[in-house]
């Protein structure tokens, strides 16, 4: 079995797919980092113009805010359940002031998270589609599927080896994505920023965002969390891509079908957002990372648990169906 998996990994690597994906990522990340850097400088300029001749003094603003929060904490007006979130903000501000880091300064850690947060519902799925679309359909169009299936190996093992190879490569692609985003944006920003504190752990209670259980984690830990969610999305997409790749036996159609599903799904979400079925569609649930931030607009009935379970069901059904079809399919190419 390990041999079969190695074969599939070898094919994936030697098809130069990875090079194409890395190339795409480098281009995107470079452009986006440049854009962020540019916007940041623009913003600083604006602040400086606003506050007159002097330089933009974030530190005194932050200190003012910090004093204020500390005063507020002493004040008897504060309800007990609000104290936690004030303390968290104080900790964050202290960190920035003590380490002399302007909270709005872009850093590699922030960028690597921003990048996947923006890309998780389209760009990253597309990259996985590029990786996986021809996994089976490619073998059909070159006829090599016949060579694979006429060996003394049962069909489900062939498909399983492809699935595991895809899983490994998808994982590597997520790693590569993180590394590229971090390294390239570091070249632009010159800041790692991995030990900044980040607030996370917002919950939905009765459809409203609740900050009682918010905790502070370092940006490094936060990045790992975000990439874990990204990885989950990536493997679900990989499973769906594998299914389509089995069904259509030609790579171009496989990519077409998946792009239509991804883009069409976004449309569906946009136009039919009142229709309750829409929230069970996989595309609607791709944006997992929003659940970790406090800035998302709650949609009734949707939560991280819901989205993870929905995506998981989609992925499992795709695999189940994929294995069924693959082991019964007549190879007539």
């Amino acid at each position: 079995m390990l041999n079969l998996i190695r074969n599939e990994v070898t094919k994936l690597l030697l098809k130069k797919k990875l090079i194409l994906i890395i190339g795409l990522l480098i281009i995107f990340i470079t452009l986006l980092s440049y854009g962020q850097q540019y916007t940041y400088e623009k913003n600083i300029d604006r602040f400086e113009n606003l506050s007159g001749a002097g330089t933009y003094d974030w530190k005194s603003l932050a200190s003012q805010r910090l004093n204020d929060l500390e005063k507020r904490l002493d004040s008897p007006y504060i309800p007990a359940d609000g104290i936690a979130s004030i303390e968290i903000e104080i900790k964050q501000l202290r960190y920035f002031i003590d380490n002399d880091i302007n909270p709005i300064t872009p850093s590699a850690a922030k960028f690597s998270v921003d990048f996947v947060e923006q890309g998780i519902s389209l760009l990253i799925p597309l990259i996985i589609v590029i990786l996986a679309a021809d996994l089976v359909s490619g073998e059909f169009s070159t006829g090599t599927i016949k060579v694979l299936l006429t060996r003394a190996v049962p069909r489900w093992k062939i498909l399983l080896s492809k699935l595991i190879a895809l899983l490994l490569m998808t994982t590597l692609v997520v790693l590569i994505m993180g590394l590229l985003a971090t390294l390239i944006s570091y070249l632009f920003f010159g800041q790692w920023g991995f030990d900044e504190p980040v607030a996370t752990g917002f919950r939905l209670i009765d459809g409203q965002l609740n900050a009682d259980a918010v905790i502070l984690v370092s940006r490094f830990e936060y990045t790992i969390l975000i990439y874990s969610l990204t990885w989950y999305v990536a493997i679900v997409i990989a499973a769906l891509t594998l299914l389509i790749s089995i069904i259509v036996d030609n790579t171009v159609s496989a990519i077409g079908v998946l792009m239509a599903a991804l883009i069409g799904g976004q449309f569906l979400q946009f136009f039919l957002s009142d229709w309750p079925i829409v929230k069970f569609f996989f595309v609607t649930n791709l944006d997992l990372t929003r659940y970790l931030t406090g800035s998302y607009q709650p949609i009734p009935g949707m939560s991280l648990n819901f989205s993870i379970i929905t995506l998981g069901i989609w992925g499992l059904l795709a695999l189940l169906l994929g294995f069924q079809i693959f082991s019964r399919k007549d190879v007539l190419v």
Binding site: N7, T10, V147, T150, V153, L332, V333
Partner: protein, 304 residues
């Protein structure tokens, strides 16, 4: 009696409500080279696909070295090497890498076995080049090596010389012939070329429109055929044949005299022709017999 290498019983296949293979049965014994002869669209590839498990029979059974392809796929396939409408290679890999990947799929394939297969098909020199720059002939050799690396007992080749140039065809046939002779491997080879089957096979199944219309040894089929005489005066010869032997002979445009006769009386006929003063240039069994047989067998059917 030894179990046949391949045994096909009452095999049928229906695709999209069209019955393409209609209840065919045949078998292949150890060391035999069987030709599967039929015109394009006869159902050769469809049959061979079922033999190697690529598609599922609608009815009937296939067993390879005693293992049913349906219920003991892995055991059955470990005895088979095949090229079905191939060769099918990964263009972005070298020939060697192709073989290596395939070798990794069967536990018994060693590096030495791969090298042996490469030597057998005569690809040592170019084996590390990318497949994309190979000629068709080279690809077909790698395809053959693919089918052989796990040392199968049965080799199934679907129109293996399609797309090869005459030189390539010749070389490929030589490789397969010597393989059959030296290793005792059984070969099932499909073709729409009579000459090919005649040159390579011990036995032939003629298939048309999904039915096996004839199954027998090649020499047997030929022996029912006719004799060709090349004489200085074929008309005189024709007269002798009809007068002395009551044979209905005809004369072709090439001035050949042709008549159906038993091989036993051929020396007597020849003696009579020579003693009548005719100059006998050559006497041959008509080597297009199979072709004619083939045409007569397949034509009637295609008219329907």
């Amino acid at each position: 009696m030894e179990t046949p290498v391949l045994k096909v019983t009452n095999l049928s296949k229906t695709i999209k409500k069209k019955e393409i293979i209609k209840d065919i049965s045949f078998q292949l014994n150890k060391g035999e080279v069987l030709g599967f002869l039929g015109p394009n669209g006869a159902g050769k590839s469809t049959t061979l696909r079922m033999l190697v498990g690529l598609s599922r029979p609608s009815a009937g059974t296939i067993s390879i070295c005693g293992h049913g392809i349906g219920d003991d796929f892995v055991q059955a396939m470990s005895h088979v090497g095949c090229i079905i409408e191939g060769p099918d290679l990964y263009e972005y890999l070298s020939g060697y890498k192709n073989l290596e990947l395939l070798g990794a799929m069967s536990p018994q394939v060693t590096r030495a076995a791969i090298d042996e297969a490469i030597a057998l098909v005569g690809m040592e020199k170019r084996i590390h080049d990318k497949v994309s720059i190979y000629s068709m002939g080279m690809k077909q050799r790698i395809g053959l090596a693919q089918a052989l690396i796990h040392q199968p007992d049965l080799l199934i080749l679907d129109e293996p010389t399609n797309g090869l140039d005459p030189q390539g065809i010749h070389e490929f046939r030589e490789i397969v012939k010597s393989l059959a002779k030296d290793t005792g491997i059984s070969v099932l080879i499909s073709s729409h070329l009579i000459s090919e089957v005649q040159l390579m096979c011990d036995r032939v199944c003629i298939i048309n429109q999904g039915i096996i219309v004839r199954d027998g040894a090649v020499t047997e089929m030929l022996s029912t055929g006719e004799i060709v005489w090349v004489l200085n005066n074929p008309y005189h010869g024709q007269k002798i044949l009809s007068e002395q032997f009551q044979l209905d002979a005809r004369i072709t445009a090439q001035n050949e005299l042709i008549a159906a006769t038993d091989l036993e009386i051929l020396p007597i006929i020849n003696a009579a022709l020579i003693s009548s003063g005719l100059e006998l240039k050559t006497v041959t069994t008509k080597n297009t017999t199979l072709e004619e047989l083939f045409l007569s067998l397949t034509n009637q059917k295609t008219i329907q």
